[in-house]
């Protein structure tokens, strides 16, 4: 099967390649400026005389088109390779890509006898290399890296210089013997070539070593070396290149000295620039809280700028971007929200592996070009021998020295793998292509030799290193996530060893690390991290959080798979917050996490924190709990359509209303019972984190601000929960659709939350309402995508809910406040008259002055609220246990929207309640009392407008009239 698939894949690939090669060959491509090309082309698009309905403008799109095609081919190839696990298990991907490149290049060559594309140094250095290096730096295991920094630096600097000099000198020596024939090259050229060929290539090493999973210490040393020596190589290359350009005869002693100085300036300067930009980036991300969407962009843009800046200053750009990544990682990851982190991670990986793929493929393609080939067997052979031999000697000698200072010794087999893993790659190729034929007359020989060396090391050594590692029984690294225990005890170990170092009076690595982390905590973190991030930055906490999150996800998906969310209630006394993020089974992938809002992910920690605080205030707990439990969770996808840059709460409300409306409608039409949708409320979650701080503040004044919500939501959960669903059923069973549709009419979402009171005054909504009160339910004002989205899910869940009239069912039907409003209106039958009077009072008051209303309403409601509290106290206790507190601010806003509705809704209560027969009188009473608790929004500007509206504008009297006539 897999084989058949790969055959198909190959056929497909070949076809694509042919397709791609023809235009490719025809055009001399300037890959460096695809954009300008495109623009240029477009501007000339319509120049021809006459009007063409359809015209073919290949030349306009040619460059980007071909590039895109190449990328597509490369990616497809990768996909094909991985269809068969066996292939990639044995043969590293890089090799397959090179071979593919060779084949494609060959096809192009056969077709046109011209080289298609080559890996131009410009493309390589400006577009392909930076993402790879940034990726390496950004994901660098810092602790490991700095633990081994001494060894890494030694291998990178001394090792590279050693390789360069010995290879160059030896080749020169062999050349002097005459074996290589007549070459137009002097010592400097050989040294230059040595510098090109000396460096172990990051990309090649990464691809190979990532697959063989050697132990941490070995990996970090090899990887670190290959990363840093790229910088060193470029420096050496530049020095020798300028020497060659000047000419051997013109170099003075001072120039050698300058060369050495420039080496340090270039590498240290590059590192400095990288650190500066890294901290700059960290600082920027500290303030991007309100532009979450572009947050990830900063990471890439600033890093890339650091690369370009460094290049501009002719410092080592590679070191710059690597250190930029290393420096920023901690702060960036602390500052960004969870999605942005994931976005950054994935984008970076995508760019890097894309660049890698392209590099290897083009390495293959580039080789197919007769103009670059010059064969000189002795030169090539000796190069191969020398680089291998000197690599071994260098590694062994350096390791011998290093082992005197290393805690973890690099053993013989480690050294063998290190020597053997000295792969050369694209870097060498790009550098050698960059050589100037005017000064380096043997450029072609150097190029061909480099290609051979690269191919040899990548293909031969790459193929054999895996068996070698296996055969040598190198300690492999376990690919395992750290457990909490490991993390915890490792931390303890760190403290222990640094303490022991203190005691024994050593100034060692641990001492330095301790000093650094203290410095970091004291200054750097304070400057570069958000306050909120500072709290949760602790590694242990984040691990804990991750584990919790994972648990929660699996827990929930398990629950949903079983078709019931009953389990949520059994988890009351579990510490972990399972009620927070609701991932459906399908959504429990990473992409779902990606779509989740930030606080969703950190919900656990936040919630835990808040919980403690809120224990003081039971009222609030209930509020939050009920909210969280009962909130309708709108679908993410839908939500995203609403706001690109910010998630505004109002939209959430609007959406909720819409959903509510839609659900009602459907229910009526289908004569079915409640619909469920596993949805999440983004608006709440999203703001939670940010508002977390503010919450404290609101805690302080529990009876001013918060009662708004608490009262509103005070609903006894169980009673309430059962009611809506059943109620609806009953309604549907009988022909009371009118009344329900009436409810919908009131929930006209089109004007946003507050319009609720106002809308009835508008002709439009008035009509809607009247229409509704007639027998035909009018279509919802806004045909919304939600309907579509909801349908399948609701269907499925439908019957679940019918089966168990459990309390969570309603929670998923409507937003909690709607539910409650409804509940209240529904149960307050007995109180209707008094309410009506209150409502009219309010109306009158509103006309007089909005502030007065607010005050009055608040007072009224608080009083009633207190009564309610008693009724529910027992339940509160129970619920208090697992309450996850949402942001009080958000709640406020959400609820403020509800208040007007509440009033409006009360008129419908009588209708509804008559139909439902399951309510005990006591329950009704309870809810009656509750029903009028909503204070007026305190700071909603829109509401203030109400005061200026005529009496007729307000819904309460109006709807009351209508309902009365109906009945």
């Amino acid at each position: 099967m897999g084989r058949a698939r790969s055959v198909v894949g190959w056929v497909l690939l070949t076809a694509l390649a042919v397709l791609l090669c023809c235009p490719a060959a025809l055009s001399s491509l300037d890959e460096e400026h695809p954009d300008s090309d495109t623009e240029h082309g477009e501007s000339h698009g319509g120049n021809e005389t006459g009007f063409h309905i359809v015209s073919f403008h290949w030349e306009n799109v040619q460059t980007p088109y071909v590039i895109a095609l190449w990328i597509l081919v490369a990616s497809l190839a990768q996909t094909v390779f991985h269809l068969s696990e066996k292939v990639t298990l044995v043969v590293p991907e890089s090799i397959l890509l090179i071979v593919l490149g060779l084949i494609l290049g060959g096809i192009v060559w056969a077709a046109d006898h011209t080289a298609s594309f080559t890996l131009t140094p410009n493309v390589f250095f400006f577009y392909l290399l930076p993402p790879i290096i940034l990726d390496a730096g950004y994901f660098m295991p810092n602790q490991q890296f700095f633990r081994n920094i001494g060894s890494i630096l030694m291998y990178a600097i001394i090792g590279t210089v050693w390789n360069t000099v010995t290879t160059g000198l030896s080749l020169y020596g062999v050349f002097r013997t005459g074996i290589m024939g007549n070459l137009d090259a002097g010592l400097l050229e050989f040294l230059l070539f040595g510098s090109v060929i000396a460096a172990v290539d990051t990309v090649a090493v990464l691809t190979v070593f990532e697959e063989i999973h050697v132990n941490e210490a070995l990996f970090i040393v090899v990887f670190g070396e290959s990363l840093l020596n790229d910088g060193v190589t470029v420096v050496l290359y530049n020095v020798f290149n300028s020497f060659v350009a000047v000419g051997a005869g013109n170099i003075q002693g001072l120039d050698y000295f300058k060369g050495i100085v420039s080496f340090f300036v270039v590498s240290l300067g590059g590192i400095a620039i990288g650190i500066i930009f890294g901290f700059l980036l960290s600082l920027v991300t500290r303030f991007t809280k309100h532009v979450r969407v572009i947050e990830p962009g900063f990471v890439f843009v600033i890093s890339y700028l650091s690369y370009l800046t460094s290049d501009m200053l002719s410092l080592s750009a590679i070191l710059t971007i690597a250190f930029c990544g290393i420096c920023c990682q901690k702060y960036v990851q602390a500052n960004l929200c969870e999605q942005s982190i994931i976005t950054v991670r994935y984008t970076m990986k995508m760019l890097a592996s894309g660049a890698e793929t392209i590099i290897f493929m083009f390495l293959g393609v580039s080789a197919v070009d007769t103009t670059i080939w010059t064969w000189n067997t002795p030169f090539i052979l000796f190069t191969l021998v020398f680089i291998s031999v000197y690599r071994v000697i260098g590694v062994v000698a350096q390791t011998w020295i290093l082992n005197h200072y290393r805690v973890v010794q690099l053993e013989m087999i480690d050294q063998m793998v290190m020597s053997y893993g000295g792969l050369r790659g694209s870097m060498a190729f790009a550098l050698v292509v960059l050589l100037d034929l005017k000064h380096v007359h043997e450029k072609r020989l150097f190029v061909s030799t480099t290609i051979i060396v690269v191919y040899f090391t990548i293909i031969f050594q790459g193929l054999t290193i895996k068996p070698l590692v296996k055969w040598l029984k190198i300690k492999r690294s376990q690919q395992k996530e750290p457990s909490l225990n490991e993390k915890l005890h490792e931390r303890a170990f760190d403290h222990i060893v640094s303490a022991i170092e203190d005691i024994s009076g050593q100034i060692g690595h641990n001492y330095l690390r301790d000093k650094w982390s203290r410095f970091d905590k004291k200054y750097l973190s304070k400057i570069m991290m958000r306050k909120s991030a500072l709290i949760s930055q602790d590694n242990l906490l984040s691990i804990f959080r991750e584990l919790n999150l994972k648990d929660a996800i699996s827990y929930l998906s398990e629950g949903e798979r079983q078709g019931s969310l009953m389990f949520m209630h059994s988890s009351n006394d579990v510490n972990i917050d399972f009620t927070g993020p609701r991932y459906s089974v399908i959504d429990s992938s990473i992409s779902a996490v990606l779509r989740e809002s930030a606080s969703d992910v950190c919900l656990d920690m936040k919630a835990l924190e808040n919980r403690v605080k809120s224990l003081k205030d039971q009222e609030e707990i209930v509020t939050h709990h009920t909210l969280q439990q009962l909130l309708y969770k709108p679908r993410k996808r839908y939500k995203l359509n609403y706001s690109r840059h910010k998630l505004v709460h109002n939209e959430g409300v609007k959406q909720d209303k819409e959903i509510f409306q839609q659900t009602m409608k459907k229910r009526l039409e289908n004569l079915k019972s409640s619909k469920l949708g596993a949805n999440h409320n983004i608006a709440f979650k999203n703001t939670k984190k940010e508002k977390g701080a503010k919450k404290k503040h609101s805690d302080a004044v529990p009876n001013r601000n918060l009662p708004t919500q608490s009262l509103a939501l005070h609903a006894d959960k169980d009673t309430q929960d059962v009611q809506p669903g059943q109620l609806i059923q009953e309604n549907q069973g009988e022909s009371n659709e009118k009344s329900v549709s009436d409810v919908e009419g009131h929930y006209d979402p089109s004007d946003g939350g507050i319009s609720f009171l106002i809308t009835p005054a508008n002709n439009e909504s008035d009509e809607t309402r009247t229409g509704n009160s007639k027998s035909i339910p009018s279509p919802p004002p806004l045909p919304s995508p939600t309907t579509l989205d909801e349908k399948p899910i609701s269907r499925k869940d439908d019957h679940v809910s019918q089966e168990d009239l459990s309390s969570e069912k309603p929670s998923r039907i409507f937003p909690s406040y709607l539910q409650k409003t409804w509940m209240q209106s529904y149960t307050s039958l007995e109180n209707v008259e008094s309410q009506v009077s209150t409502v009219s009072e309010h109306v009158a008051a509103q006309e007089e002055s909005s502030t007065e209303i607010v005050l009055k309403a608040t007072v009224d409601k608080t009083e009633e609220a207190k009564l309610n509290e008693d009724d529910h106290s027992t339940q509160l206790d129970r619920e208090a246990l697992d309450v996850k507190v949402q942001c009080a601010e958000t709640l406020n806003e959400e609820l403020e929207d509800n208040c007007p509705k509440d009033a409006a809704l009360q008129e419908q209560k009588p209708l509804i309640i008559k139909d439902s027969k399951m309510h005990s009188a006591a329950a009704k009473r309870v809810q009656n009392r509750r029903s009028f608790h909503r204070p007026k929004p305190l700071r909603y500007p829109v509401l203030q407008k109400l005061g200026s509206l005529p009496v007729s504008c307000h819904i309460p009297p109006h709807s009351l009239e209508q309902e009365e006539t109906q009945f």
């Binding site: 457990s483 915890l488 024994s504 510490n575 919980r611 403690v612």
Partner: protein, 194 residues
């Protein structure tokens, strides 16, 4: 080092120490220097106060525990032999050189390193890390960043993760199991200066 031999002569049973700890003479000499440096009153032994005088140790969240580890069984003084024996625990493990299977377990073996860490947690010395003990250590390490609730849930989680026999505490064996994948030679070793 000028005082090299004079130092060595002061140390009793030098050969014994070398054999037991695996330190070289240079190491021992250096550590003896340190010992004397810490020993403010030249009493030949170290007291808790001597340790507490080390500035960096005071800011180490586990500092007190570590000091306690140097004074087992309510002892109030520490002689050089015990001092160097404890430090020897942190000598890097040399895997390749000691291939002698019959040799007694070296003082810096993995188990000994683990045991040292374990005893920091196990305050009452009953061979188990109880929930309370773990909470205490966690509180030290996490400082004021977490609330009690978080702390407790982290603790519960940690115990739950490591607790294999379900007794709600972590025994040494469980402790060792949970850290099987940790490169202890790396983490719990110090490069002692020559």
């Amino acid at each position: 080092m000028g005082s090299y031999s004079s130092h060595l002569s002061k140390i009793e049973d030098l050969q014994g120490i070398i054999q037991e700890t695996g330190f070289t003479k240079a190491h021992i000499c250096r550590l003896y220097d340190r010992f004397e440096e810490l020993d403010k009153n030249n009493k030949g032994t170290l007291s808790r106060e001597d340790f507490q005088r080390i500035g960096e140790l005071a800011v180490n969240p586990l500092g007190d525990r570590i000091i306690n580890a140097f004074f087992p069984n309510e002892k109030q003084t520490l002689d050089f032999r015990s001092f160097i024996r404890i430090l020897a625990c942190f000598r890097p493990t040399a895997k390749d050189k000691t291939a002698d299977p019959n040799a007694p377990e070296p003082i810096n073996s993995r188990t000994n390193k683990l045991r040292f860490a374990f005893q920091l947690y196990d305050l009452d010395g009953d061979g188990k890390i109880s929930r309370e003990e773990l909470i205490q250590v966690l509180r030290m390490m996490l400082e004021a960043q977490v609330t009690d609730d978080q702390l407790e849930s982290i603790t519960d989680r940690t115990i739950q993760e490591a607790d294999l026999d379900g007794d709600g505490a972590i025994s040494f064996e469980e402790f060792r199991k949970s850290l099987e994948n940790i490169n202890l030679e790396h983490k719990m070793s110090i490069r002692f200066l020559q």
